[in-house]
Structure formats: C-alpha cells, structure tokens
Symmetry: C2
Subunit: 661 residues, 2 copies
C-alpha cells in the first residue's frame, strides 16, 4: 500500500507535467495542497466517480481555480470517466476538457466554474444553503452531505469573501468546510506585501470555527477535518503549506504560482519526490490505491438509491433535481389580469406573479440584499430561511449583492432549488461578476432588479441605471427582461423560468398602466419583441420601447395618428430573445431598415448605444447618455426629454430631416 504522500505525489507529478506540456498554467497550488487534497479525497469526501451527479454526493469546490490541475488529477486518479490521461496531456489546449480553469460544463465532477477569485467559495455557501434547505424538506435519508472548498489567499482577500463568510456564519452552515491553502504567497510575492491580518480571528468574529494544521501532512489534515466536522459552525481549516512543494529550487516562491517550472526544475522535483517515472506515468500501486479510494462511495450511493426508491417523496425529489418548472400557473393568472387590469409598478407586478409562482413551484427560494420591501421579493406565505428554520424559503441576504448572486449560482448548481434574489438594478454593478459566471455555467437563477431607470426619482444619479440595461444585455447567455406592465411581467417570469441559464428582470419603481388588455394564445414577451399596437393607416413610424417607456410610445403613437401619421408600437421586453427569432418574424416586426419609408424610433430611459441594431443608423434613438439627477420622476422624464410631447416633436423633426411624409 503506497503512503499517502506517494498518492499525493501523483498529483504533484501530473500537475507539473501537464503545465510543462502546455507551457502554461499554475503548478504551485496543486503541489502545495496535494497532501490535503489526498486526505480529503481518500478519507472524507463522499462521492462516486461512477455517478458524478448523484444528488447526495458531497460538493467539492476548488475556489482557487487556477490550481485546476489539482481537480483534474483527482478526477482522473479516483476513476471518473473523464479526464483521461490523454485529456490531461492536452491540458489547456483547444477541445480538451482540462481547461485553464475548471469548467463545470466540461467535466462532471467539477461542481462549478472557478477562477474569478472568491466566487467559488461564495458558490459553495450557496450549495451549503441548498443542502440544509433540502435536508429540512426531505430529511436525512435523502439529503445529508457536506460542501468542501479549497481556497487560497485570493479567495480570502477578495471582498466577496466577507459577504460569503458573513452569510455562512450567520446561517450556521456547519456542513461547509473550507481548507485554506495558507502558503503565504500571492502573485506579487509575500502576502506581507498587502495583508497584515489574523485571518482566523476575523473568521471567528463572523461565527466560524477555525483550526490549524500542517497542510502537507495528510494525517494531520484528516485530524483537523474531523474536528471541523464535529463543530456545528462552518469551519476554516488553516493548512500551512509550501507553494510548489517538491520543486527544490522554486518552492515557497511566487515563481511556482503561474508558470511552468521548466525542464530542469521538473527533473529536480522528480528526484526530490522520488518519482522516477516518465511524464504522465502513474505507477500501478498508486493507480490502484487511488481507484480504491474512489470506490469508497459506491456502496454508500447504492444504499442511498435504495432509500430514494422507497421514499414517499422520492419521485418529487427526483423531479425537483431535474429542475422541471411547470408553467401551469401562468394562464389562470393572466386570465385574472385581463379580467381585472391593474396599474402598478412592475416590481409590484413581479410580486403578484411570484404569489402564483411560489405557490406552484416549491423549489423557489427568494431573497433580497436588504431591499425586501423595495424589490417586492417576499410573498405572503414565505418564511425566512435561517439557522433556526432551514425549511424557510426566503433569505435575508443582508447588504451583500455580490455574495447573494454568487450564492444563488451555487444553489442553482447544487440542484433541487430555484433561487431568485433582488436588489436595485444599479447595483448589478456590484454583482456583475457573479451574473456573468452564472451565465457561463448556465446556472438557472433569476435576478430581480427593481428601480430600473431615472423613474426611481429622488435618489439621484448614484441610484439611477443609465448604461446598465445595455451593459447587461451583452453578457453572453444572460436574458435581460424589461416588462412594460403586469401581463408582460408575468410573461417574462414565465420565460425566465423556462430558460436554462440565468435571467434578469428589470422592473420599475413607478406605477405603469396595463397596456396588454386582451388574452393571447402565446407568451408574446418570450418572443422578445412583438407588435403591441398596429397602425391602421400606412405605416410611417415604428416606435420600439421597453418597460416603462412603452406607455410613452403608446402616447406618441396616438399623437402621430392624430396627425395622420401611421405608427406601430413594438414592445421589446427582451432583445436577446428577439435576436433569436427567425428572420421572417424579425423583418415583419421591424421592416425597412433604411428608414427611407418608415422611421424606426427607440425609446428607453437609458443609454442609446446599441439601439442602432434596431433603429438603423438613420433611425431615431430617444434615451439618456449621461448620468441622471435627483428629482421626482415626472420632472426627470421631462428634464431628459422622455415625455409624449417631447418625443413626438423629435419624431416629427426627424421625419422631416429624413424626408418621410
């Protein structure tokens, strides 16, 4: 039986060999944390390489994602189908699942995409929340696992750390255990260059249990892990390590962090580690011992499968894991709206829709970053999810936008829950990095972002989104919805719940009339844009608007029609969805791109950049290309020229200029 150190050296060898072959990558972290990872994967972690998606598996998050070779080595050695040794040989090459940073869409066994520092840890907090919640709902027989994290100094220094750890401490997530790779090195050199902090004391102040150990002695790591398991608080295990351990001339320095060691140093490391093998070669005894470690979970999983099969809620549990979202709530709710139109803010319309959604879908978990009453995210029946009641479905995230968004990603990736969370749209700037990482991972979450324009009024330019809608629309894979009324809000919620990846709802603070007053056979908002009002006369103008500006567009159309100018109104709640429609549909909605016969006009209380895509260069774009101001909303709309008379005047001027009659 090979020693634990020898098992760990297999990780070290694969890490330095793969980085060397790619001539790019990060050997230092895998080499420093190889022993700790070996302890975790051979003794403590609950997993089964034969079924990487087994719902009751422990979750392992490599928050220090640059050390990706650590997880690739572990998955390979413990017997996952992929990565093969060939995949590892192709580390960081086009088409290899062994990407520079671990990508959850490349390899089962990778729970989430990491690399942007701090977010892995924050996603792990979300996974740990999901676990406790599902445990509270389904009991120990079906849900009883832990979430493990390997984090580096970057993950501890980033601001999101404070939000994530604070939330975890508050929620007493005792099943969350973080192994901190305390190697005292960052890219710039010693951690002393930028940090003088008692990291453990800081975490204790936030309700964490902490324990220290020699991170390169796997027995001592195991002892620390046992202590962590025994404590009811979340645990931070300070693993004292040497970065690049095994590379005799470079270990302990930043030189091992993000560059190949070089042929000479790799040779020296082989000698130092007693690893007299060709690159990528694993001795049989080591391979066998790792496979055995990987098979530990097989019978555990088999027992769990049996419990699932006989569990009264087994089928429901499985359906929730699959993430099926029945939209049966939509039609009766829309029928009611059509019967009793309501003039409310779309944030209120969202709450009304959520009453129906939350009743229909038990998997939703709502929350807000301390703006519950403003975001209208908490429906009547929702109880807080907290340390005293994990069965609750509403999370008071506190003033932690970024931590909330990342935790939601983690919850979604855990599976079995469907998170949504609220803040002001302008603060998407705080959570943007997590919104993006959710899109990359196709994490099904809904960002509920209210106060979506100058329409929020007096709070002024710091709180008024200008560029936010456009800057969010360009995130690949994110659907941004900006509904115009109660009906569109419900349709957009339905569309969001039908998407695979993340969605973002931009909602008004101010009341808006219900512009959709008759029942339709389909979800018009899901098409991205549709003709809300069609002119009867010859079409001369197409007014394209979103959200709160649809009301203005309808007013302008009325004015124009009064002057004998035929005007359509196109409501465009989701540009991404519209872009994905077939060309014939798009051309029907927006004919004559030349603006020679018909003038296209966009109206949105935000930046006009990007609207050229729908108006053409010679169309007219009504919007705001500077910062907002502090005043009541109607004064601001007037100040920025977004009223029916002012837009009408601009349209008439522009028609004249373009010679459209």
């Amino acid at each position: 039986m090979p020693t634990q150190r020898r098992l760990a050296n297999a990780i070290r060898a694969l890490a330095m060999d793969a980085v060397e072959a790619a001539n790019s990558g990060h050997p230092g972290m895998p080499m420093g944390m190889a022993d700790a990872a070996t302890a975790l994967f051979t003794r403590h972690l609950k997993y089964d390489p034969a079924d990487p998606k087994w719902p009751d598996r422990d979750r392992f998050v490599l928050s220090a994602g640059h050390g990706s070779m650590l997880i690739y080595a572990l998955l390979h050695l413990t017997g996952y189908a992929r990565p093969t040794i060939e995949d590892i040989r192709n580390f960081r090459q086009l088409g290899s699942p062994c990407a520079g940073h671990p990508e959850n869409f490349e390899l089962p066994g990778i729970e989430c995409t990491t690399g942007p520092l701090g977010q892995g840890l924050a996603m792990a907090v979300g996974m740990a929340i999901a676990e406790r919640h599902l445990n509270a709902v389904y009991g120990d027989d079906l849900v009883d696992h832990r979430t493990w994290v390997i984090a580096g100094d970057g993950c501890l220094m980033e601001g999101i750390n404070h939000e994530a750890m604070g939330l975890a401490g508050h929620l007493k997530l005792g099943r969350l255990i973080v192994l901190w790779d305390d190697n005292r090195i960052t890219i710039d050199g010693s951690t002393d260059l930028s940090r003088k902090e008692d990291v453990c004391a800081r975490h204790e102040a936030m309700g964490w249990h902490t324990v220290e150990c020699d991170g390169m002695d796997s027995a001592k790591v195991s002892k620390a892990i046992e202590e962590a398991i025994a404590d009811e608080r979340p645990s931070l295990i300070r693993c004292r390590t040497i970065i690049g351990y095994g590379a005799p001339n470079k270990q302990g320095t930043a030189a091992t962090h993000g560059s190949p060691l070089g042929a000479d140093e790799v040779a020296a490391a082989r000698k130092e580690l007693g690893w007299n093998l060709a690159p990528f070669e694993i001795p049989d005894d080591v391979a066998k011992a790792w496979k055995e470690a990987g098979s530990r979970g097989s019978s555990v999983r088999a027992d769990w499968e049996k419990r699932l099969a006989s569990h009264e809620k087994g089928k429901e549990f499985t359906a929730r894991q699959a993430g099926v979202c029945d939209d049966g709530w939509l039609k009766p709710y829309l029928d009611k709206l059509i019967a009793e139109p309501a003039k409310v803010a779309t944030r209120k319309a969202s709450e009304m829709a959520l009453e129906a959604i939350n009743a229909a879908l038990p998997s939703t978990i709502g929350g807000s970053a301390d703006l519950t009453g403003s975001n209208n995210t908490k429906t009547k029946a929702m109880q807080p999810l907290d340390a005293g009641n994990y069965a609750g479905r509403y999370i008071y995230y506190g003033i932690r936008e970024f931590g909330m968004a990342a935790a939601m990603n983690g919850m979604a990736l855990h599976g079995g829950v469907l998170p949504y969370g609220g803040t002001f749209l302008v603060f998407s700037d705080y959570s943007r990095a997590a919104i993006r990482l959710g899109a990359l991972q196709t994490a099904k979450v809904v960002h509920v972002m209210t106060h979506d324009s100058i329409g929020l009024g007096e709070d002024g330019p710091t709180h008024q989104p200008i560029e936010h809608l456009q800057s969010l629309r360009v995130i690949p894979g994110l659907h941004v919805y900006r509904p115009a009324d109660t009906v569109e809000t419900a349709e957009c919620w339905a569309a969001a719940l039908a998407n695979d990846g993340p969605s973002l709802l931009a909602l008004s603070r101010q009341n808006l009339p219900q512009v959709r007053t008759k029942a339709e056979g389909e979800n018009l908002s899901a098409k991205g844009a549709y003709r809300l009002k069609e002119t009867e006369g010859p079409r001369k103008v197409i007014l394209i608007a979103t959200g709160s500006e649809v009301e203005i567009a309808l007013g302008v159309a009325k004015e124009l029609e009064g002057k004998g100018i035929g005007a359509d109104v196109v409501s465009m709640p989701c540009t991404e969805a519209f872009d994905a429609q077939e060309a014939a549909y798009r051309e029907d909605i927006l004919p004559d791109v030349s603006n020679r016969e018909i003038l296209r006009v966009s109206i949105e209380a935000g930046t006009t950049t990007g609207w050229e895509r729908y108006t053409g260069l010679h169309g007219l774009r009504c919007g705001i290309d500077r910062f907002g101001a502090s005043a009541p909303a109607p004064d601001l709309y007037d100040h920025f020229g977004l009223t029916v008379p002012k837009v009408t005047e601009r349209v008439l001027d522009h028609m004249k200029q373009r010679g459209i009659q």
Copy 2:
C-alpha cells in the same frame, strides 16, 4: 450657549423637515448620528467654510450617503456659502444642490459622492493614503490632516469593506477614523436578520483600533475620538445610536430609515426634542453657536497659508494640487519609438510609456491588484508605498480590485496625486461600481486593464473579456482606450492624462507589431479614430479595428488590395473620443453609411453589439458573441474566425451579398 444636544437637534429638525417637504428621503440616520456629527464638527474636524478646498483640511466622508441631510445640515449650519436654507427646502428637487445622495460636484464641502454602500469608506482609505504620501513628500507644515468617515451597517457588510479596511489596516492609516452608526437596523429590519458578527473583533483582526461609545452623547463621542486620535492604527468608533432618534413612535425601527416620518410624527418629534419652531427655522443662539464652531478653522488655515507662502516647495505643492499634467514626455518618447520600432504587447508598451511618464510626473502613484508582473504597472524606480515608507509611489493593493478602484477615486479626489492601477480587463466586473462612481465624480484616475481579449489564451473563458469593452464604453464620462501598438499606447496614455475624468486602458497580453512608423504632428489616438492606412485605388471597404485586431485589419486590407479592392484601415482606439469629433471629421473617416458603395467592417475580439454605430446595419461586424475558450491565443483567434484569411473571406462574401464590386 446652547447645549451640544440642542445643536444636534438643529440637524434633526432640518433632516426631518427636508425629508417631509420632499416627501422622500432618509431621516433616520441624520437623527441618530446628529450628536456624533455635532461632536465632530464642533470640536475635532479641521475645516474652514470660507475655503472648502483648502488643501490641508480634514476630509469628511459620509459613507452612509443616504443620510445626506446630515451633511447638508452641517454645511449650512457651519457657514458654507451653500447650501442655503432655500437649497435645503428644495432637497431632492430638480436643480437643488441638495440631491438625494451627496454629490461632490454639487457642493464644495462634499468630498465625494456617496450612496452606493461601502464605497465612501473605501474612497476615504484612498484619501488617507494620499494624505500620508503627501505628508511624506512635503512634510507636516503643508500636509497634516485626518480623514473622517460616518459609516452605517451597509458600509460594513458590503464586500468592499473587507478590501478597504484590510488595506487600511495593512498600511497603518492611523489618521483614518471611522464612526460607525451602530443602530442595529437595516432596511429589512434588525441587523440580526442577516448578520451575527463581532464587528469590532473583525476589525481588530485586520489591524484596526476599536472603541465604543454612546453615539448620542457628544461628550462621550469626543472622548472616543480622542482615544482614536491617540492610537496609531486606523480607528473604528462604534457609536451606539437609535435610528430616527427624537421621533418618539418610530425611532429604533426601519420605518425611519428611508421614508418621511409623516406630519404627525414630525410634530411629536418637535415636542420630544423641545424644538418649538417652524419648519426650517433655526433659533439665533443655535445658528450663532454653529457659525462659531465653523469659524474654528479660520486662523488655522491662515497660519497654513503663511507656511505655504514661505515653503520652499510651496509652488510645486500648489501646482500638484491643481493637477496639471505636462505632456512634455510624449514627443521625445514617440521620436524614440519611431526611430526604433518595437514589437511588444501593449501592456509592455504601457510600461515603457510609464517609465517616461513616472519620471516626468511626480504625482503618479501606481499599483496593481496583485498582478504587478502581468499588468506591467511598476516602473523601475518605483518604491513600494507602505507603512514603512509612505513616500513610495507603488501600492501592492493585494487581491482587492474593487477596493483598489475606489481607493484610487479617493486619492484623486483628495488631490495632489494621480493614481493608476492594474488588473485584468475581465476583472473590471469586480471594480465596475467604482469605475462608474469615479466617472460620475470626474475623478482623474487611470485603470490599466491588461489581458484584454481571448488573446490571453489558455486561462480560458473566466479570464477572457468578451462583453467588457462595450459594456465599459457605455459608462458616461469614462474614456476607454484600446491601443494597437507602442505608439498608440503612448498617445492613449497622453490622452488619458489630459482627461478630466477617469480613463481605462485595455491592453494586450500578446505581442503586437508597431503599426505606426512615422512621426505625426498630433496625437492621432486622441481623436478616437483615424485613417491608419488609406487606399490608393477607389475605396470599396473600410476596415475599422481596435487594439490587437488592427494588425488583422492591415492584413485583410493587403489581401483585398491584392485582389484590386481598395481598402482603408481605420484604427479606433477610443470610440467616445471619436463620437466627440466634429461631423465633418467623422464623415471623412467613415463615409457612406448605407454600405451601398463602400462596405464598413468592424474587427474587434469582443461582442459585436454596438458596432452597428460605426458599420451601419448592413456593414459587417467581426467579433465574438459568446464566451471564450481555453487554448493558446493563435488557436483561439482561428477558432473564433479572427484571422486574416477568415475575415477576408467574410468581407468578400459580404461584398457579394451587398452587390459591391
């Protein structure tokens, strides 16, 4: 002589009256912190309302910016020219300088714009850094002041708090004193809903001194302040307060946070506070006592002016405060580049330019969020700025992108220093909220963002910007530069240093040929776009490219010319600057918007959305509208179709489609 409490009640009355008149705003914080603010402004803060910009004044930052009426009341009462009582009566109305949140561009005396939580505190850290640095350079006679902050729970819960406080603790910024409004209330209710933390212990772990006091007893606040001044560490003063203090039925509850108290409660509060006066009325004795407090600094400033006048470095100091940036370094540096062209990455070109800039401009303070060797931000002569050497000009910010960007804003707003700082472009998502707040405040900082596309290669999609360039370009007031070579990089640096507000440089990881090989009489990059290569034959194609894709555009032009198709190449390092040029210039560079005679083509390794503005709808946009991948850079450029042969083929196809011959 009125009591301190009576002085504080003047703040309380103005706050509740103004919010009532506006029917919008946040009375709770000003009412809770009125006594603490009175202690600070009547006894400790060094300021002179007659000269709000006096360089050696203390800086006061209301990080909990929603409590804006606190600072408006203080400025008015202590004798600043504005706000007048009329301004305060117009709180939150269009045109009033008393905006919903404090705006530094509205009122002298407001050091920075606050409202987005946590950032005021982080800007204060920057101000405190600037103070210690300038003190080290100019001595106690010219620079000897403190930075004060009032922060709420939001500022302490936001992630940026961890970055800012960690940096301040590391740098031992003993002249930074934070008064924490510990009222145990957030918008959602009790802080217990979302936080269980020993806030003081956390700060002590990060090198802070902490002290507690009754925040509504101004004598006790003064005592705590004296203790804070005496300690050499930065200090957090825990002021135990009651939110909305004085409103007998609502105080201590979230109801006072962000809504008017209502007429009845205001009347009850007047009674409770013994304030039997009409709204906005200040009794003479109170007004007089406040004015006297405000005049404390007058003689201190006079003494300082005398010292400045006789100081050997007085003139230099004043010039630095004015922020003048001589660009004398540019021409000799460009001459050298023309004489000896270099093929380097633009991040390297930036370092080369910085060698000249940092030698010429002593006010620059560089830094990086732990990517010094990758961002190339540290020039040879730079020494670290740290607790042992505040005279240093390079800051190891640690893995704190957001904290860095906000601190840079604070440094710039303090005056006398010109900060620049580096990270990867993709991590602009982490610091975006501070980039925006800098733009709103016209804070002169330079964000050095390297690894600006898939050209960074193997690190993969988490590290590869796609939507970032476009999403940053839409931030009002921010100039985004993406230079193509050494010459453009120097020109862009010069343009950035000439801007009033913030600039962002997007720089390549990969080497790029020098495309500009002859001397020009002007800074072409400062025009935003210019014709880099003009066709000799009839113009059929205009290739518009930025940064690393200019090389590709030149290659495509050569291919097209080889086929007898006349092609211009337009380099567009800054779309904002180009949009600001006169119409004649823009039409000369980009003629024929219809794409009937001439095809316009954009080439940028990022999202194509927004490029319609320059190509027109019938132009061709070559870019990437999905996430990147992990592979060597040349493989990725090929994979995403951004090579000379592939772009050439697309151009030829598109010309055919459009019938251009």
